[in-house]
Symmetry: C2
Subunit: 127 residues, 2 copies
DNA sequence: GTTATATTCAACCGCATGGTTGAATTGACG
DNA sequence: CGTCAATTCAACCATGCGGTTGAATATAAC
């Protein structure tokens, strides 16, 4: 278990909600790259790409390491794992198509976040 | 393979980026519910919950069915599956921690979207 | 037919997003 | 040191988000 807080799941899924950022993740998963190398395929400003990287970094999906004049960007897949684990709960619904209530009873131990009654958004952010 | 377009992956991940919406998905996965039943645990207006449902519906993660005076909301997990498949690509990076380049060579057949050079956002939306 | 209930619509608000451009920072190098 | 290159910062803009409230719609119930 990766133990991701509500707020960081927010940031991870938000980071993934943009096609450019998903493509960047694919990119840096193949090999670590500089910001310039990452930006090259897209026709947007370097500053825009830099902002995308900030979003990815906020979600802790990439790490940036200063390497001389460059910044090497590399993937950090741990939070992706957390996202996938969140999604894994729903596997039963697309595989077996079991009755939802019965399925609930079977998997009732699944932790699952609780954001009811105003707890939303103010969850303790991961350190 | 679920064959989700770039734009709909956007909408799916966006829908998941809010804790309230994730909780709603969990909720309706256990059993189909009315909008009122869904809204009850949260201290926000019914209209706000209705908007959340619209976001989920835009991502095709729920289906709404008129049932008399109510609308029954039920889960549609197919697009969640697509999201999970997108994430599955990264499993190798959190399990083996292989060298990224080597991993790339091994998995080079993975389709992967391409949003470079202005193709972003204008992808053919799923019908 | 009128009224009550469930849900959505419309307008609005404050704030975040994704993009731009131009200036600032930081480090390599002649 | 001066300059160039890589990257970020700051200000700005248009748009979208998540929430509100109040009106509108649709169906049920009396």
């Amino acid at each position: 278990m990766v133990e991701l807080t509500v707020a960081s799941l927010d940031s991870v899924f938000h980071a993934l909600s943009d096609a450019t950022r998903r493509a960047i993740l694919r990119d840096v998963s193949r090999e670590a790259k500089t910001v310039g190398q990452i930006a090259e395929p897209y026709n947007m400003s370097l500053a825009a790409v830099s902002k995308h990287l900030q979003v990815l970094e906020r979600a802790d999906l990439i790490r940036r390491e200063k390497k001389g004049n460059f910044r090497m960007v590399q993937l950090n897949a741990d939070n992706l794992r957390a996202a996938q684990e969140w999604l894994a709960y729903y596997e039963t619904f697309w595989t077996g198509q079991l009755d939802a209530l019965q399925n609930y009873l079977e998997t009732a131990e699944t932790p699952g976040e609780d954001v009811r009654n105003g707890n939303s958004g103010t969850g303790t952010e991961k350190g």
